[in-house]
């Protein structure tokens, strides 16, 4: 359930909205209260392009509750072209194996079904291989 918690994160989950530091211009995702680069206050919204490449990945076989119906699935560290790294599932891989350096782009997908808690569906970002 935790409806306010998921609602609060909708800009990040649907739009990959992070921040740009007004003091040092660093791009920040996920949003923070203090810029990790210069220590200044961070609060200016910034829309990330959603393009990046795989920095590392794993294929999950033993999953935590809430995700165990979907194994195996791939989770990656994706280095966004603006700099930050984001943790996200990979999707739409088809026959392709994930690999480090793989170009990927953000898509919106169902990320968890809170089945035992009123069937609430949670949507958010995943990344898929860039179509060529």
């Amino acid at each position: 359930m935790e409806i306010p918690r998921h609602w609060r994160l909708k800009k990040q989950r649907y739009g990959l909205v992070g921040e740009v530091c007004p003091h040092c211009d660093a791009k920040i995702f996920p949003p923070r209260d203090v810029c990790p680069h210069c220590g200044g206050e961070a609060k200016t919204a910034f829309n990330f392009s959603g393009r990046g490449e795989v920095y590392s990945y794993t294929v999950m076989h033993d999953a935590p509750a809430g995700f165990d119906q979907n194994t195996p699935y791939a989770v990656a560290l994706v280095k966004l072209e603006e700099g930050p790294v984001v943790t996200a599932q990979l999707t739409d891989l088809g026959e392709e194996q994930p690999r480090i350096g793989m170009p990927v782009e953000m898509v919106t997908r169902k990320i968890r079904e809170d089945a035992n808690e009123r069937g609430m569906l949670i949507y958010g970002y995943k990344f898929r291989p860039v179509l060529r």
Binding site: R5, L9, Q12, P30, P36, Y55, S56, Y57, T58, V59, M60, H61, D62, A63, P64, A65, G66, F67, D68, N70, P72, Y73, V75, A76, L77, P84, V85, V86, T87, A88, Q89, I100, I111, R112, I122, G124
Partner: protein
């Protein structure tokens, strides 16, 4: 500042204790440590615990566990830092005694895992990561380790089977530890055919989560009982350091910066270099963590820590024995209790009570527990006093 010593130790075997409650497990370790320490009555107890609120629906452990063990009226509370909870509780105990505010403190590590099973436990353990931005992607703690291991394989190209050496060392040592969960050596073939948990982390690349309770009784050097049948062990270095919570926020996730800094600070207090210790109870919650911790401590160059394992340097008779009583892999991983088990095991070594796993002439030990992928790192130096 006063010299802090460990006067007493206590532990129960790590395992699946279906018949034992959280409070009973705790009481056995607590009472054993008090007895071993000559019966000193603690004025305070600091509890390393990670998952009781989720897995046992129990908070306020300070009251529960002291009350149950007949210690009502003392100061007691929980210290939580995920898998580093035990190390962090030890840090709090050391501070309390060193400062002079407390003359005798009990440090307890306790974790009750088996009241829940499987994916529920995985979900609970994943709370050591950033829930909103890591756990909500379906990443588990094993998954975090896998992200590091995959990147390590990519950057340094070690032989894949080299990771298995950490499990082999742990099991060889666990075989001789009556308090270990798994007491059987394993083969390279068994490692090679182990099922995947979170590719490339296989079942033998991670320690099994299991129930456990361990305790140490701390006091000042000059307030310790004079007639103990065993030598005192001094805590000569103590530190807790944090890194970013999430792996994705680190410029170089393989650096394990907090692991590095916690060893540096503890060693600097003790006036030694990391290489000056006779054994290292490193965190092997996942084999990649043990490897990265060795490198972070400066004991091996980045990308080369696995060579120490392959060359036999980390075995009981090697240059720097690790996981001397089985580590998380074979002793078992009771999460928030790990840091206290490490302290108990190091004291066994320093007293000469480690049986067939005795490290010859062990006088000084380094112990380090990690919360998440070294998001928190707690390191201590323990030295035998004669």
């Amino acid at each position: 500042m006063r010299d802090v010593v460990i006067a007493g130790i206590g532990q129960i075997p790590v395992g699946e204790h279906w018949d034992l409650s959280l409070r009973t497990m705790a009481a056995r370790a607590m009472l054993a440590a008090i007895k071993d320490g000559g019966g000193m009555k603690p004025q305070a107890m600091y509890i390393g615990n990670f998952l009781s609120p989720v897995l046992s629906h129990q908070e306020n452990l300070g009251a529960l566990l002291t009350d149950n063990a007949g210690l009502t009226g003392i100061e007691a509370f929980t210290v939580e830092a995920a898998g580093a909870s035990g190390g962090a509780a030890l840090r709090v105990g050391v501070n309390a005694v060193a400062s002079g505010f407390i003359d005798c403190a009990l440090v307890l590590g306790v974790e009750k895992i088996t009241d829940m099973v499987g994916s529920e436990v995985e979900a609970a353990v994943a709370q050591s990561s950033d829930y909103d931005y890591e756990a909500m992607t379906g990443l588990s703690s094993a998954g975090q380790a896998a992200l590091l291991m995959q990147r390590y394989l990519y950057e340094y190209n070690p032989p894949r089977e080299a990771f298995g050496e950490f499990a082999l060392i742990a099991h060889a040592n666990g075989a001789n530890n009556p308090n270990a969960f798994f007491r059987k050596a394993i083969s390279r073939e068994a490692y090679a055919s182990a099922g995947m948990v979170s590719d490339p982390v296989n079942m033998f690349d991670m320690g099994p989560y299991a129930d456990g309770a361990a305790a140490v009784l701390l006091t000042a050097r000059d307030t310790a009982p004079k007639d103990l049948p065993h030598p005192l062990v001094r805590v000569s270095g103590s530190s807790v350091v944090i890194d970013t919570l999430a792996l994705h926020d680190r410029p170089n996730p393989l650096a394990f910066d907090a692991a590095c800094q916690s060893v540096e600070r503890a060693c600097s207090q003790a006036g030694i270099m990391p290489g000056d210790v006779d054994l290292f109870e490193v965190c092997d919650a996942f084999s990649i963590y043990a490897l990265l911790s060795l490198e972070a401590a400066g004991l091996a160059r980045h990308g080369e820590g696995w060579k120490m394992a392959v060359n036999g340097e980390l075995s009981i008779n090697g240059k720097l024995p690790i996981l001397t009583m089985g580590g998380c892999k074979a002793r078992g991983n009771p999460l928030g209790a790990v840091g206290v088990y490490q302290a108990v095991e190091a004291v066994q070594q320093l007293r000469g009570q480690a049986g067939r796993n005795q490290v010859k002439d062990a006088r000084r030990a380094l112990i380090q527990s990690l919360g998440g992928p070294a998001s928190t790192a707690a390191a201590h130096i323990l030295e035998r006093l004669d």
